[in-house]
Symmetry: C2
Subunit: 305 residues, 2 copies
């Protein structure tokens, strides 16, 4: 996630509690989440955004883009595991996977757990995010070390134009918020491009905001996805303590073809983990997969789901 002006990292430090970082954004006006800073590790400005890394006292290292927290070492597990395994555990035998965004490498790490996967393409727009992740977040950027991974640095929508019809089994859109560089990743033409490059019965999982803060945005995404995808469209959510409102959601969509029931995983990742040298899952399970589609009554009604 990321993508908002104003708020360079430096502005966030100077304006609030001395020695603390505060996340403030017009996307969630009137509230702020602040973290005590042990050490500032990196500050830079890429072609796309301000990039900041600091060591917090409570959540380990924190990656911030344009003033908005993307990842902390302590709670990244729930976001990365859910955005990757919700789509990949919903279809049998995924082989070709595309990640759009996700420059920290965490989604790659999770996709890599799936032994059926033969090709993992990633298209991230910002080289600086990748560099910073590799330097400061080795347990997350480890995802780039998988030999199946092929990195493309560039615009995700543009990348899709060069992809043949029906090429991928699954696409994961690990984007920032729909303001700034990621805006087009929330619009109908982009969803139509995703649908075009997926095989029949292929799946997409895209970051889709919080039911407490952005129900209208979610309704818009839901409507756009219903148009673009002729299979199933479902909203799931997970708890991420350092994201605003403590939760973040995902829109899961499938193309016309073999039907996909996202709520009932058929490709359990727990099995793939056996006799594997990787660090174990911390958050995801098949049970959590199904539970994540259960929404608060107010959200279910707003989505007509």
């Amino acid at each position: 996630m990321g993508g908002l002006k104003p708020g360079t990292g430096r502005a966030n430090f100077s304006s609030i509690i001395p020695g603390w970082f505060s996340e403030m954004s017009p996307m969630w006006p009137g509230e702020a989440h602040s973290f005590e800073v042990k050490e500032i590790l990196f500050e830079g400005q890429s072609d796309y955004q301000d990039v900041l890394v600091f060591e917090s006292t409570a959540y380990g290292k924190v990656l911030v883009l344009d003033g908005v927290i993307q990842v902390t070492e302590r709670d990244e597990c729930s976001y990365q595991e859910m955005i990757a395994h919700l789509p990949l555990c919903s279809i049998p035998n995924p082989q070709k996977v595309l990640v759009i965004g996700g420059g920290d490498g965490g989604v790659l790490r999770e996709v890599g757990r799936h032994k059926s996967v033969k090709q993992i393409d990633i298209c991230e727009i910002d080289q600086m995010v990748i560099d910073v992740a590799k330097k400061f977040f080795p347990r997350i950027a480890v995802g780039f070390e998988d030999p199946r991974v092929k990195l493309f640095v560039g615009d995700g929508a543009l990348f899709l134009k060069g992809v043949p019809d029906g090429f991928y089994d699954a696409i994961i859109v690990d984007s920032s918020d729909p303001v700034g560089p990621a805006q087009e990743l929330f619009e109908t033409p982009f969803f139509e491009s995703l649908a075009r490059v997926l095989r029949p019965g292929g799946v997409v999982c895209t970051q889709a905001e919080s039911v407490w803060l952005h129900l209208h945005i979610i309704q818009d995404i839901f409507a756009s996805c219903k148009k673009a995808f002729k299979g199933s469209v479902n909203y799931a959510w997970t708890n991420v303590p350092t994201y605003p409102s403590g939760v973040i959601g995902f829109m899961l969509c499938s193309t016309e073809g073999p039907p996909v029931n996202f709520k009932q995983p058929i490709n359990p990742i727990e099995k793939a983990e056996e006799d594997d040298g990787r660090s174990p899952l911390k958050y995801y399970s098949s049970e959590m997969h199904s539970a994540s589609f259960c929404l608060p009554k107010f959200a279910r009604e707003a989505l007509g789901a």
Copy 2:
């Protein structure tokens, strides 16, 4: 919830962002959640704690005890509905219910939805909390207007001493954090008292902290409850944006007797709502009830659950 020194409301205002309230506590060191203040409505000191009410720009009115946010108008639904309906929807025909704490009246409002309930006793220690709730949070304190409600102002543990064995069908402990006035509500003797005054197969639901912040406290509560209750003991959680880490949990316990499977509600509240003039549920559903027992892998393993 509540209960921590330091942090009068006033200190929270002066030390952080001008014009904002910041919640800081030794219970979650190194992070703070801040809210823009439209108007301070009440500041007082009771015999037990500092009491503060302000109107926020983002979450409506906010009740703060000893610097810790208890309730906001915008997100109180998830906490109140879950802490009340998780126990009451798990048993058939609940009739006598005790609420310990819960002076804002929100739990009473939710208990009152159950038509089988004939008696609702509440024991809240702090009269000022009740008065403030009635004045500033009428949609929450409406719970006190139910003719089945009988209010006792006093210490919960002491109140239990006067209750005959096996008296209640269900007890809901809507307490603050286990520091300050609520500390004894998290210890084994208190849980044993609860078990004593419940009928065979009766149930208790007690506020039980966040898996991200206080897993060790939860493990302790779990162990104490396993000792005190001879039926089932389960942990559930829900999302509350204005609580630290965005989630809060509940320990659900039943006494020896007719077995209780908390994960499968048998007394759906949706039915009770039909042809009823009350405001509809916003968060709880039978599906959410079951889903709330699904924990992150790291928490499930820590609890051996």
